[in-house]
């Protein structure tokens, strides 16, 4: 399984990279980690005339912690995010999700941004990006633009990225919880084997105030459509609930009403629907338990 014959460049400046993409007239592919693209190239499902390697572009390997957010340059490896104290502290939902992403060795090379841009709806990082309202930073022939992840994902493996554009970073807003609130997260998935893409994945982040009310909630599901799904109705219910655990059932019911899963080789639509409900219930319970386990909160 050898790829088609492609040319290869490894530009050293962003302008050079953009120039290559523009000249290639849609026949170029960007390679960063290559863990998703490599298999497609070897199977000749991707057939670019030119491969533009972005690993030598300066500054793209930066994982920056800033006041409002954490910013991942395009070549930050998943493994570095997994080990990052910044990610653990500021983006605990991503920290929870990363061990589910592929295997140790694919995380050594694969990039956070690459997974988000590849847009597989069963992948973990796109789901986290959706839950945390990440913003995709794009540069192209017409300059820079920024697209919230919700608008970036258009459909199955389809994004708002034009062939002559490059994603240079994805930033994740990381606001601190409201005063006195504790943030707890949970991530789980159902996969046939560990390390596989999920059949269904569920993510929950809860900011729980001292009085036990939820002041901020992020809920999402992957694997139940062409794009990761944010469960806004459920989040509303949680924020409105005087006694949040009693609302979990309604949250799951709201999610069920909002999703329209597909069936495929690995799972029927009915299965995905049922497992989505189960996993959503589990992450709610787990996140809630973690929040209440913080000393003084039980």
């Amino acid at each position: 399984m050898k790829p088609v014959d492609f040319r290869y460049v490894r530009p050293r400046t962003l302008d050079d990279a953009l120039g290559e993409l523009a000249r290639a007239n849609g026949e170029a592919k960007v390679i960063a980690g290559g863990q998703s693209l490599g298999p497609l190239l070897n199977m000749r499902l991707a057939r670019p005339a030119l491969l533009v390697d972005v690993n030598a572009l300066p500054g793209l390997d930066a994982l920056d912690e800033r006041t409002e957010d954490v910013r991942f340059g395009a070549t930050v490896r998943q493994r570095d995010a997994e080990r990052s104290a910044t990610v653990a502290r500021r983006l605990p939902l991503m920290r929870d999700a990363l061990p589910f992403v592929g295997h140790v060795h694919t995380r050594n090379r694969g990039t956070v941004v690459g997974s988000i841009v590849h847009a597989d709806p069963t992948a973990e990082l796109p789901l986290v990006a959706r839950c945390l309202d990440a913003v995709v930073e794009i540069v192209g022939p017409r300059g820079r633009r920024e697209v919230p992840v919700a608008d970036f994902y258009l459909g199955y493996l389809t994004t708002d990225l034009a062939p002559e554009e490059l994603v240079v970073a994805v930033r994740f807003p990381a606001p601190t919880p409201a005063a006195g609130a504790v943030r707890a997260t949970a991530f789980t998935e159902m996969a046939r084997r560990e390390g596989d893409f999920a059949l269904v994945a569920a993510a929950a982040q809860l900011d729980v105030a001292r009085d036990g009310r939820i002041v901020d909630a992020r809920l999402g599901l992957a694997g139940i459509g062409g794009v990761p799904v944010r469960l806004c109705a459920g989040e509303e219910l949680l924020r409105a609930a005087a006694d949040p655990p009693r609302a979990f059932g309604a949250v799951v019911a709201a999610a069920d009403a909002a999703i329209d899963p597909d069936g495929d080789l690995h799972a029927t639509a009915a299965y995905r629907r049922s497992v989505a409900a189960t996993l959503l219930g589990r992450v709610l319970e787990t996140a809630w338990r973690r929040a209440r386990a913080v000393p003084g909160r039980g």
Partner: protein, 798 residues
């Protein structure tokens, strides 16, 4: 950690049964293994194949002109050319109307079938050229379901074979109807063993180099196949002594499937045609889709007649096997289980119907166990149902049905004598190893908490020895009764020992096996004995390392050769000492006069005399120390009767597995709480190799039980072509396994050794299914198929 528990009075050995580092392992950890893909020659060219996108389509035209125009492309060969220049590949059942060749003929019969082959200077270029070959197809109707394929109005797969049924025979052994009439109870069940395979990490690879100067074809291949050199020669229309297959190629796993006869005939033909060495390394997609290396794909209908105590008196079993488009040797996988058709049980009569059909799918091949795993699965789940029907536990049910230890050799209704066994003891050890009482407590506590938990048991025969008399059983035109293995042993003038074997190994440790047994026989350190893999012209009859036969047949061949040498050395020593040979004995590695004290002639001296001191040899003795022994499969040599009574494999290994699983109520995912077994393959030669074989077979069995399946869509497209979709178990899916080894020696082999190569795999799917069914029992439901997927289990739990 394996605990080996030998029977009382067992012979104590110096090397056999002791921990010893397998000699092969060193080269592999150094990265010095030599696999077929590593073989390189000057002017080597590479192959890529053009495959059919359709499951059934007439091939109207092939235009290779664009492909041929690419620089570096040496040529393109189509089926028309190949089929006119070569003989068809061998198919063992009597179906002369079906011609099987490496490339499709008038029609492609499955999606992925090879239609043309490109030869180029490198593989990437060959793939570029393959994409440029234009093939015009006319689609034809497709049949994919085996029961549909049997219907009179089904689309036909082979134009010249008007029915899709390529084999059908019913055997009756014993008084089946009488036994059914006499039994108070009966039950019937249907089982489905879905298509999977053992899928090695190394795909099939072959290098063929035709030498026009010597008219000799050299072949290096990742091969595990009986009669490979002969069949290669036959297809190419050359005598077998024009083919030299190099067996000193390391094979990266086979477990039955590396029967790359079509890859090899194709590659050899290309080499001869274009006058260059040619290498074909099939890629993963080619392997999954077009290599004809899928495993059994079966529907079983089983009916048993039993009494109030759960003792099964008689059984009727019908098995329907979907061979894919080209049956090859695969239907015989319904024949081998005839030699263990009643499992370890005293079932007195059996009716057995075997049906093979063709469909528009990839062809089947021999897979680990050669049909015993699916058969054991059907039998064991049936025994579980009998237990439920009479209301006794599954362990007790088995004990009541086991062949008792004093009944051996025990001739089963279909004619095979079981050599030895101690089934109840092995089952007891398995339950002890598993901590069954503790497991039952765990299960019941889990259930009380609302969890889905179950314990499974399976007790299965694992026949070994490889008497391929099923070839004659399924086709009387196959009159072979000789299934031999040869070993040549040499002692050089310094006394160093080397042995030649006529097989390629794929991880079974044959060099370790032979050197250990020779070391034991000669009284010398096994590590000082070199074992090499000869080529196919070295004159060593072989049937390849299939059917768990090597320890049994090759082991005894090595011992046989050793005995010849020892007898000769004894005569040399006697002559040297001036006494009669009967007055001499071996004492360690020297020969001395029997009785108190006396001179001894050392090993080194005996070797020296044999090779260089003709004047000291007994008069007329042939100089040198080399001997070959060809061991016929023990108990083999007779044809089946007209009724199909047949003596099959000589040695019956046996294992009992006890498995505890939990099924996630919300996702249907199965996880192992524990896995324990007791295993009996007679005298153990190398404990780590035996343990490795069993553990590996268990992993294969877990794959078949829970994860692996070749899935086709309604158009005949294989959906599970990559490792993303065809799920091989990883470190997370295979649990830690506890094992106790028991040794019931075989009376048929020199050291009592039986076979283990297919061990584990023949029992595990049944054990896992049994555990799942125990977990599902409180829900009033069960499975009768493998693999059992989370989607299916969640539905059953709903």
């Amino acid at each position: 950690m394996t605990v080996t528990e030998s029977p009382p009075g067992a012979r104590t050995h110096r090397f056999v049964g002791k921990k010893r580092r397998p000699v092969e392992d060193r080269r592999f950890v150094l990265g010095q293994g030599r696999y077929a893909a590593d073989v390189t020659l000057p002017h080597l060219h590479h192959v890529a194949v053009v495959t059919s996108p359709y499951a059934h389509a007439r091939i109207l035209n092939i235009d290779a002109s664009e492909a041929l125009a690419l620089p570096g492309v040496l040529g393109v060969v189509t089926g028309r050319e190949l089929r006119s220049e070569c003989q068809p590949l061998r198919q063992y059942i009597d179906i002369p109307e079906i011609a099987w060749f490496p490339l499709a003929g008038e029609a492609a019969l499955y999606a992925g079938e090879w239609v043309a082959a490109v030869v180029a200077t490198d593989r990437a270029l060959a793939e570029d050229a393959a994409e440029l070959v234009r093939v015009d197809y006319e689609e034809l109707p497709v049949v994919l379901d085996p029961e549909r394929a049997m219907e009179a109005d089904s689309p036909t797969v082979h134009a010249r074979h008007p029915s899709n049924v390529v084999y059908q025979r019913t055997f009756r052994w014993g008084e089946v109807e009488r036994d059914f009439a006499a039994a108070p109870h009966r039950l019937a069940a249907r089982y489905r063993w879905h298509r999977s395979s053992t899928v090695p990490i190394e795909t099939f690879s072959v290098v063929a180099a035709w030498n026009a100067g010597t008219n000799l074809l050299d072949v290096w291949a990742s091969i595990q196949m009986p009669q490979f050199p002969e069949q290669l020669a036959q297809s190419l229309g050359i005598p077998p002594n024009a083919v030299r297959v190099h067996f000193d190629v390391d094979v990266g796993g086979s477990y039955g499937v590396k029967r790359g006869i079509k890859h090899s005939v194709l590659t050899a033909y290309l080499s001869r045609r274009f006058g260059v060495p040619v290498k074909f390394i099939e890629d993963r997609l080619e392997h999954m889709r077009g290599s004809d290396m899928h495993g059994p794909d079966r529907i079983f209908d089983v009916e048993v007649a039993f009494d109030d105590d759960g003792v099964v008196r008689s059984m009727k079993m019908r098995t329907l096997d979907d061979e894919g488009a080209y049956p090859g040797r695969s239907p015989l996988q319904m024949g081998k289980p005839v030699g263990a058709i009643v499992g370890p049980y005293t079932i007195g009569s059996v009716q057995y119907e075997a049906i093979a059909v063709v469909t528009n799918k990839t062809g089947q091949v021999a897979v680990r166990g050669f049909g015993q795993a699916p058969t054991n699965f059907a039998l064991e789940l049936t025994m579980d149902r009998v237990a439920a029907a009479v209301g006794i536990d599954r362990f007790e049910l088995r004990r009541r049905n086991f062949i008792p230890p004093d009944a051996f050799p025990y001739v089963i209704p279909s004619g095979t004598p079981y050599d030895s066994g101690d089934y109840a003891v092995v089952l007891e050890k398995a339950t002890r190893c598993a901590g069954l009482d503790e497991l039952l407590r765990w299960r019941d506590e889990a259930r009380a908490q609302g969890r889905v938990a179950g314990i499974g048991v399976a007790s299965c025969l694992e026949p070994g020895g490889g008497n391929a008399i099923f070839e004659a059983l399924f086709n009387p035109k196959n009159e072979s009764t000789t299934f031999p293995e040869g070993c040549q042993v040499k002692i050089d003038r310094t006394g160093a020992v080397s042995a030649q074997i006529g097989v390629a190994s794929s991880g079974q440790g044959h060099e370790t096996l032979v050197s250990t047994m020779l070391g034991e026989e000669f009284g010398i350190e096994p590590d000082a004995i070199r074992v090499i893999h000869a080529d196919s012209l070295a004159g060593l009859p072989s049937q390849s390392p299939v059917a768990s036969r090597m320890a049994i047949v090759l082991g005894d061949a090595a011992i046989g050769a050793a005995h010849k040498l020892k007898a000769k050395m004894l005569r040399i020593a006697a002559h040297r000492l001036g006494v009669a040979p009967e007055d001499c004995v071996w004492d360690g590695d020297a020969v001395r006069r029997a009785g108190a004290g006396g001179a001894a002639v050392s090993w080194a001296e005996l070797a020296r005399i044999a090779h260089v001191a003709y004047h000291l040899l007994p008069p007329g003795m042939e100089p040198g120390l080399q001997a070959q022994f060809v061991q016929q499969v023990q108990g083999g040599g007779t044809l089946p009767t007209a009724e199909g009574v047949v003596r099959m494999y000589p040695c019956q290994s046996f294992s009992a597995h006890v498995v505890a699983v939990e099924i996630d109520r919300g996702t249907g995912k199965v996880s192992f709480h524990s896995y324990a077994l007791a295993h009996d393959c007679g005298t153990v030669i190398n404990p780590d190799i035996v343990r490795g074989m069993v553990l590996g077979g268990i992993a294969h069995g877990i794959g078949a039980a829970l994860y692996e399946r070749f899935v086709y869509d309604e158009h005949g497209q294989l959906l599970t072509q990559t490792f993303a979709d065809y799920m091989l178990p990883t470190t997370h899916e295979v649990p830690h396994v506890e094992m106790i080894e028991h040794e019931t020696p075989s009376p048929l082999t020199t050291l009592g050794q039986k076979g283990v190569g297919e061990g584990g795999y023949m029992t595990t799917p049944a054990a896992v299914a049994s555990a799942i069914n125990d977990a599902l029992a409180p829900f009033g439901t069960r499975i009768a198929h493998v693999p059992a997927t989370p989607v299916e289990l969640l539905e059953l739990l709903a």
